[in-house]
Subunit: 338 residues, 2 copies
DNA sequence: AGGGGTAATGGACACGTGACCATTGGCGCG
DNA sequence: CGCGCCAATGGTCACGTGTCCATTACCCCT
């Protein structure tokens, strides 16, 4: 475990000189620089980021907390963020909160203890952890929310244009002739007014439809709940002619339920969903989706965070919106005439 | 950013006493302990793991390098390992190598610089990085390979019973009456004799079949390659009657190709694959799969690594095999009589 | 020739913690 | 009553780095 002192000794220079070969090579005589570099090479020296982080007051580390790593949206986000961080010399600490703000708090403590320089977070549901995020910010961690942000949050965020995307989806279904459109939404009605669920009734009104209570129930963001809700929806006296799933995880449950009921898509019911998950193109019929530009969002998030960290502008707030993209594949069609 | 010194001052005790409230509370008088704990609470003190890591000589961090985070097998692994690490107070640094050993090396340097206490790695293909792993081990990082290990590797590993699973799959197809069984394998023929691809011809022989060269071609582990190979296989003068995909990513490509060719599963061709990915149950027909116990494997890996780290037994080598589980859903059937 | 500036190098110290050793006071026991 | 032990608390230093200040030698310019 060679340190910079070993490098200095081997190169026959003072420790300070050896350090300069790394951070300010232009200050060294070419010959000295070469000698130090050779010593680094021979010893396989790699700077200790732990010691450096301590002295510097901030680490070469980023935290990423997502809702659930297994969901392709987040898996893709983890991947993109990890790559972007790596390319700028940062390591990425990954956690998930399973959409639970209590678990989230426990994980935040770990990230706080690790003194991450930046935090990209998709908060869970329940009592908000804004206070804790605020404390991390005071301590020097730059915080950015992604995919969701607390109402009144002071932090930067990177979001999909949720409202626009919901409106586009509803307009699409309406234009096909659908008048009974149900949604699978998800939010905590107390703390988390999730944008897509909120936009849905407005979107209906914008095309002249009246929101129906039982067509817009909200559930926990897991597959089994969506499965169950879809069964219930289709067993209503007046079942919907189209289902608009507000995320890909719930779409899987909806699809399973529709298959099980023996309903044909899109003849008996149309299905539209957020998230262009790979399975949506493999099933029969392939699903119409609203794709999120996950990778662009992830790269943008890292850029905002690391720029603020490295340019020492902790108070800079950047808020971005990315458009969704509707991809038609054949799971939506005009409703049957009764 | 309160430190333990602030806590000590507030509690009116010496720093050493304050520290003991955290690590050796039994040494303190109950009243003193309570006073310190109150100070910790009031200040929201959280130990600085960076400073602690430096002093201690090892950090509260684990590294996890996987092939590609987007693949559900790895996403699930990341999730499980992150949870297991978190429950023992460790943070998890995640990277992927995109199956490329050069990229892997760059990422290993970052992990080395971060002084992770342990490393769980799924190596990529190309020139092995055994030398670098060896150096990390010498430096104090406990290394465990998962899902794959270098031949002759001195490290611990956690693996599927690949050979047994391939044999079971082949026996299953053979028992249904298949004699022309093709595989989608993946390995680097020079460096990476991947177990499943190697076991396949042996498994054929064990049921009395002769391996056919063009039925066992190996490709890069990505969906488009599997798609292309499947098209080629099914256009052979004597196409296979069953395809055995050695992982879930390739199965997606195979499925897409078969659909596109208009072939019916299982009437025209049977399809069996490793990995119980969620989409395999949603497509028509749902696929027969060999499920890997990913979560058990992940938890076992963390346990082995952290036990060795915390019990200071860096030379202890543990090697585990987990059985696969064949799940029949309807994508395999007896071949048609020609 | 002498002063000042600069290129090149060296030395000292603090970041916050954990490990180790030192000190104090009180009580039991012979 | 005095010795010794132990419970309880305090003090010191090193981990490896980054930052700031100090030192040396040489050259340029007037």
């Amino acid at each position: 475990m060679p340190s910079i002192l070993d490098v200095a000794k081997r190169a026959g220079v003072a420790p300070t000189t050896a350090k300069r070969a790394i951070h300010e090579p232009h200050l060294l005589a070419p010959e000295t620089l070469a000698r130090v570099r050779r010593a680094i090479e021979e010893l396989g020296y790699e700077p200790d980021q732990v010691a450096g982080g301590l002295r510097r007051g901030r680490t070469q580390t980023l935290g990423l907390m997502v809702g659930n790593i297994i969901e392709p949206f987040f898996a893709s986000l983890v991947r993109t963020v990890a790559h972007a961080a790596q390319s700028r010399g940062y390591a990425l600490i990954v956690t998930d909160n399973e959409y639970d703000s209590a678990l989230e708090r426990a994980n935040l403590r770990v990230l706080y203890g690790q003194r991450v320089s930046g935090l990209i977070i998709r908060s869970g549901y329940g009592a908000p952890n804004l206070d804790y995020l605020e404390r991390m910010r005071e301590r020097g961690t730059y915080v950015l929310e992604i995919d969701y942000f607390y109402p009144g949050s002071p932090f930067s965020h990177v979001m999909l244009d949720n409202e626009g995307s919901v409106f586009e989806g509803v307009r699409y279904l309406h234009a096909l002739g659908h008048r009974r459109i149900a949604t699978l939404g998800s939010y905590d009605p107390v703390y988390h007014p999730e944008e897509r669920s909120r936009a849905f009734p407005e979107a209906l009104r914008s095309v002249g439809l009246s929101p129906v209570e039982e067509y817009q129930r909200v559930i926990t963001l897991i597959e089994p709940e969506a499965y169950k809700l879809t069964l219930e929806l289709m067993r209503l006296p007046e079942p919907p002619t189209a289902i608009f799933s507000l995320n890909g995880t719930e779409a899987a449950g909806a699809f399973r339920a529709l298959k099980e009921l023996g309903l044909r898509i899109p003849e008996d019911v149309s299905l539209l969903t957020f998230d262009n998950y790979s399975w949506t193109a493999l099933v029969t019929p392939p699903l119409d989706v609203i794709e999120q530009p996950v990778e662009e969002m992830g790269r943008a998030a890292v850029e905002i965070v690391l720029d603020a960290v490295e340019h020492q502008t902790p108070d800079k707030v950047v808020r971005l919106r990315f458009p969704g993209r509707l991809i038609r594949r054949g799971s939506c069609a005009p409703p049957r005439r009764p």
